[in-house]
């Protein structure tokens, strides 16, 4: 089986993330990494590969030059090859444009299964899997917290707000997995060494038959009008509990704020 895993290179959530003057995310001035939630997608693909012989995993990303680091990490974890779509005109693309580029890249590859994480950790929209399914005209079984294969059938557990559903579809399809789907492995030393020799292709927009006016900030289907840093919260009173004083002061605070 050929599996395509879509990953995103994102600014580190623990760093000081911010916007550029054109309201796009600063993707250069902040250290980036493979989106944590995409590690679960890579892990899922690796688990499938471990149980099905002749499985090849291709990792695809769309992003700036440094986004190769996200592919590199996935290759170190055990994926087989990488495709990096990079083109200056893609900068500032919204979800509609990004899904277009990703879909065209996937179409150039042989695949039976596309695996995605549940959302990115920067924009956190969580719509790319659905958009890809729409563009590729494939079934989508999404937000799986458990995944099971039976021949061509993919079955997931999907934890909704009011019910837990079992959802199934037949390959080829788009699968997305949550952070409940299984702890992602760390790259081993052997994996890190092996990754250096794995093929990594770089594609431009024209390689995908797309033109600059179909993507990017000026073409986007939505526009950020303003971005404003929220004033930091200021620390209030901190008390240390001594023989029940903490509970008394806590209740006093609640009463002063009219919560009781």
């Amino acid at each position: 089986m050929n599996i395509v895993v879509c990953v995103k290179y994102v600014p580190d959530a623990t760093a000081d993330r911010h916007f550029e003057s054109d309201h796009t995310v600063d993707r250069v001035g902040v250290d980036g990494l493979l989106s944590e939630l995409d590690e679960y997608a890579v892990e899922q693909a690796l688990q499938i590969k471990e149980s099905a012989e002749d499985t090849e995993i291709t990792v695809v990303t769309v992003g700036p030059d440094d986004a190769t680091n996200a592919i590199r990490k996935a290759l170190q974890m055990g994926a087989d090859k990488g495709v990096h779509v990079v083109d200056d005109s893609i900068a500032g693309s919204d979800s509609v444009a990004t899904s277009l580029v990703l879909a065209e890249a996937i179409k150039k590859l042989e695949f039976q299964l596309v695996v995605c994480g549940m959302a990115s950790t920067d924009a956190a929209m969580g719509v790319i899997p659905a958009m890809l399914a729409e563009r590729l005209e494939l079934p989508a079984v999404t937000l799986g917290s458990e995944v099971e294969f039976e021949g061509d059938t993919v079955r997931i557990r999907r934890d909704g707000d009011t019910a837990t559903d079992t959802v199934e579809g037949t390959l080829p399809l788009v699968l997305s997995v949550t952070d409940q789907s299984g702890e992602a492995r760390y790259p081993s030393f052997k994996g890190i060494m092996a990754a250096k020799k794995k093929p990594l292709e770089t594609w431009s927009l024209s390689d995908l038959g797309l033109s600059a006016d179909q993507v990017g900030l000026s073409t986007a289907w939505s526009r950020v009008e303003s971005t404003e840093a929220r004033p930091p919260r200021t620390q209030g009173e901190i008390v240390t509990d001594e023989e029940g004083s903490g509970a008394a002061k806590l209740t006093e605070f609640l009463a002063s704020k009219k919560f009781i």
Binding site: M131, E134, V167, A220, I238, F253
Partner: protein, 321 residues
């Protein structure tokens, strides 16, 4: 005035509170039209509620033919209604299902999409301007849709539902669902038992437990019940199997923005803060005085939650009389 489509979220015709919030927002932007997808009987149950919150039209789409499939058919229904009614915007509740429907609809109608709006207001020309809280609540972003129909998913509590009588004229709509939309089938569904507590994302008060509970959520639950609050959990608590994932607060769980958030035994990793940082008042109880969450609290107790919470619960109950 343009129609604004609101996808009705309901359980067997019982309309959820976020749907009434969407109707209130829709009225600011144009003429609210509710889209009810479900069993025919359910529409009659829902109609009263939808009218009460200002729905001028109610499009009723019977789902007998496609209810066992995942979101794709609902996106097709909305796409057909967008074509028919040419609305200025489509409003959908944020959440796993809502966002997927919105994503598909954006592609089908070649429209712009904004997710997780915490507010939507008409801009200078009347078209919607959204407010979102991003980067773990550290930034506020305002955005507009510039192409096609504005497709917006809205978070719970984005508006206070206002009762306004709407005409609520029901209109049965015939839709064609493609074979392609019926390819991801729901083969089993197990309803989750209700905890009897307020819904996490709608609650005015949330009390959460983390690693510090050591797996014993009783003090957290009792304190929550004394305050009439919902119970939440940190990812550490969920990953340890102490509390179900549907109660997880943070980046990969629920985002809450209640009047009061009480974190017990939660250190406050960025992923957790992303889910609660916009709460109005924040209280933390933690043994570790170095816990990062203390940096952003309005009130903090350095102490063991297993003694502080039960004593506070008793005190709260005493005051309530």
């Amino acid at each position: 005035m343009s129609e604004i489509l609101v996808l009705v979220d309901h359980v067997d015709g019982a309309v959820t509170k976020p749907t009434t919030e969407l109707l209130t927002i829709a009225r600011r932007l144009g003429e609210p039209s509710a889209v009810f997808i479900g069993a025919a009987g359910g529409a009659d149950t829902a109609a009263g509620q939808l009218r009460k919150y200002g729905a001028e039209k109610i499009y009723v789409v019977e789902d007998t033919d496609f209810k066992d499939y995942l979101v794709a058919p609902k996106a097709e229904v909305l796409a057909q209604l967008v074509e028919k009614a040419a609305p200025a915007a489509v409003l959908i509740s944020s959440g796993g299902e809502g966002k997927e429907i919105a994503g598909r609809l954006a592609i089908k109608t070649n429209s712009g999409l904004i997710t997780d709006a915490s507010d939507v207001q008409p801009g200078g020309d009347g078209s919607p301007v959204t407010t979102q809280s991003v980067f773990a609540g550290n930034y506020t972003v305002q955005a507009t849709v510039t192409k096609g129909t504005a497709i917006i998913t809205v978070k719970p509590n984005a508006a206070t539902p206002e009762q306004v009588d709407g005409a609520g004229a029901q209109e049965q709509v015939e839709v064609t669902i493609s074979a392609g939309a019926k390819t991801a089938k729901i083969t089993a569904s197990e309803p989750r038992k209700s905890s009897g507590r307020p819904d996490l994302t709608e609650a005015a008060i949330v009390v959460s437990g983390g690693r510090g509970t050591g797996g014993n959520f009783e003090p957290v639950e009792h304190f929550a019940d004394a305050l009439g609050a919902a119970v939440g959990a940190s990812r550490a608590a969920v990953d340890s199997g102490w509390y179900p994932h549907s109660f997880q607060i943070g980046q990969t769980g629920k985002t809450v923005s209640p009047q009061l958030y009480v974190a017990a035994g939660i250190s406050g990793a960025i992923q957790h803060r992303a889910g609660m940082q916009t709460s109005k008042t924040i209280i933390a109880i933690n043994k570790d005085e170095e816990a990062p969450l203390f940096e952003l609290v309005d009130f903090g107790v350095v102490g063991d939650l297993h003694s502080v919470l039960p004593a506070a619960t008793e005190e709260v109950n005493k005051r309530k009389g």
